[in-house]
Amino acid sequence: MAINTITDAIAAYNSAAKSFAGKGVAADDSVQSSAGADFASLLQDGVKSAVDAGKKSEDLSKQAISGKADVRDVVAAVNNAEVTLQTVVAIRDKVIAAYNDILRMPI
């Protein structure tokens, strides 16, 4: 039961990462034997989307400084980048905390 909920959580994180990347949820990824591969790809996708959002917001900010971009677009892009980064960091912290909990588990 407990194992099931952990894999469920990892699957949910995974689908969150997929939705960052804009690919949608893949059906065959729901349960995998190795959590390490899951977490690596999860972080990769999440960080990639955060970096993309950050780049977009920086590009728009640069254009806004030279008077080419709409300030409202800049606000939307910066907000989006901020929320994406917060989500990635929160998921990373949560999964690493779970990993540490397992490492510290007395055998």
Binding site: R72, D73, A76, N79, N80, V83, T87, K94
Partner: protein
């Protein structure tokens, strides 16, 4: 993209539309005294904006766009000013059909709508942030 991010996008489109409306209102106010320089010329004609609902296919949300900037076809009021170069034989000059009170109300409406859209951005962002904070 999730619905709360889409909500921000839609609100941004509303803010852009209202900014353009403010621009048109300011043109009207600035030109409220733009009288003709000869008797056969016409004075400044008041402009007004219309909005339109557009589907943003890339994001799957309905946003608002400026439809077009139309002119107000109402009659020009006449002002008695025989010294003016635009005055006709009876001493009347055609004045722009801009009513500063109407422009003021239009501007106030645009301001309120802009603020409402700002609040939508703030609320959707705080909802997203609070949801993500649940993970911490």
């Amino acid at each position: 993209m999730d619905d709360l991010s889409k909500a921000s996008l839609v609100a941004v489109s509303g803010m852009k539309a209202q900014s353009e409306r403010i621009r048109v209102v300011s043109e009207n106010i600035a030109n409220a005294e733009s009288l003709p320089s000869t008797p056969d010329e016409l004075p400044y004609r008041r402009k007004q904006v219309t909005f339109r609902n557009v589907l943003d296919k890339a994001n799957g949300a309905n946003v608002v766009k400026l439809n077009k900037i139309d002119v107000d076809r109402s009659e020009f009021p006449k002002k008695y000013d025989p010294q003016h170069p635009g005055a006709d034989a009876n001493g009347y000059v055609l004045a722009p059909n801009v009513n500063p009170l109407v422009e003021l109300m239009d501007m106030r409406e645009a301001q309120r709508s802009y603020e409402a859209n700002l609040n939508v951005i703030g609320v959707s962002k705080s909802m997203l942030t609070h949801t993500v904070d649940m993970l911490k």
